[in-house]
Symmetry: C2
């Protein structure tokens, strides 16, 4: 159930993901988790800030977690940073 | 005094900033704050993760804060996301 309330950040414009987060809150979610890896991490912060400042004023950041994931590719393994922003309202 | 233990993340390679953080810990700091704005935020997470995983094993992330700053430019005001990662050891 919690897993339903996850928005994964890719390379689309920030507003696409803001809309996804706002929709989840409007559909009754009390908690939405924004997940990103690598360079999308900056965009994840933008999504959380735009949501909080412009669309869901009663929402706030409950927790931010960072970690490292190991990615296997044809050039060998590499590490990538990950971030999760848990928002509640 | 706390302000001395701040590392600002710019557009240099990650390892430059990791070295700055590690140096502060080695010089006796018990807390180092990594600050970044905009697209440098992803790099700030890399710096924290590389420091923790490879150089200062006893360090950990104490707090992560995100916020929005208003920037005045010749094209008018705009908003930029900011992040602070507080590391302790």
């Amino acid at each position: 159930m919690t897993e339903d309330n996850v928005v994964y950040i890719g390379s689309k414009p920030v507003m696409n993901y803001v809309l996804a987060v706002v929709t989840q809150f409007n559909n009754g979610a009390s908690e939405v988790t924004i997940k990103a890896r690598g360079r999308a991490i900056s965009r994840a912060v933008d999504v959380a800030e735009v949501t909080r400042n412009r669309f869901v004023a009663e929402s706030k950041v409950k927790d931010i977690r960072i970690a490292t994931e190991r990615i296997a590719s044809d050039k060998g393994d590499s590490n990538i940073s990950t971030m999760e922003i848990v928002m509640i309202k």
